[in-house]
């Protein structure tokens, strides 16, 4: 008697078959750069604790073209993360009411963009301007 072999849909490469899933995986991939950048910051903090020579060596290492490329890609990843995060936030958070009026999703998304702009300008202004 032949053993029954039910059809199992192959799952390998499932996300490459649909542009929506490609974008989904691109969004998930931003996490790799968030984690690597956090580790990079942690390493910088470690050199800071070791002393001035170690910290300056870390600053010099950041000038390497590979690190500049890494940070360029990390910036793009962080912006994609921010963009997608702000857009889904209204779906993930409890419904917000002002009085008896429900705050529209669009308003919440734009409010986050506004806060993002204020924080970014503040960081860039304080560090690069001061």
């Amino acid at each position: 008697m032949a053993v029954r072999r039910p059809y199992v849909r192959p799952m390998a490469g499932w996300w490459r078959r649909n542009p929506f899933y490609i974008f989904y995986m691109l969004r998930e991939a931003t996490s790799v750069f968030v984690a690597l950048y956090a580790l990079q910051l942690l390493y910088g903090l470690y050199t800071l604790a070791v002393g001035e020579a170690a910290f300056d060596a870390w600053l010099v290492s950041l000038r390497h073209p590979l690190f500049l490329v890494f940070h360029g890609v990390a910036l793009a990843a962080a912006l994609l993360h921010a963009f997608t995060w702000f857009n889904v936030a209204p779906k993930a958070m409890p419904v917000l009411y002002l009085g008896s009026h429900r705050v529209a999703d669009r308003t919440l998304v734009w409010a986050q963009y506004l806060i993002f702009a204020v924080i970014s300008v503040a960081i860039l202004g304080v560090v690069l301007g001061g």
């Binding site: 968030v34 984690a35 800071l48 950041l62 500049l68 962080a78 806060i115 860039l124």
Partner: protein, 118 residues
């Protein structure tokens, strides 16, 4: 009593980290990864004196701790769950320990470095 999932704890850290990373990381990457190495607008943007004074201040230390630790929890939680979607199933419990272990160790090291800096 049914066995309860510990997922909400890690999801909360993932969510908090997602908020912090979204609002702060782009500007921070521009500062430490691009502007400082390229000497823009002037060299010494991240001088040792400046950064150590920042890390030794309470607001500065709190900022660095929140950014580094929560970004680690966010990043490694998402990496762990993406591996499942890429078809990595064998040894996933080991990967889980490695992912959350790195985030935990990074959090502890960040706290230690900042507390000794203050």
């Amino acid at each position: 009593m049914p066995k309860r999932s510990n997922e909400p704890v890690f999801w909360a850290l993932f969510g908090a980290g997602g908020v912090v990373a979204a609002f702060v990381l782009p500007a921070l990457i521009v500062v430490t990864g691009l502007a400082a190495p390229l000497g823009l607008p002037s060299p010494g943007v991240l001088s040792y004196e400046r950064v150590s004074a920042f890390a030794a201040s309470l607001p500065g230390a709190a900022f660095l701790f929140v950014v580094i630790s929560l970004s680690l929890w966010h990043g490694f939680h998402r990496i762990y769950h993406s591996l499942h979607e890429l078809g990595v199933h064998r040894g996933l419990s080991v990967v889980r320990v490695l992912c959350y272990g790195t985030a935990l160790a990074g959090t502890a090291l960040t706290a230690y470095l900042l507390v000794t800096a203050i």
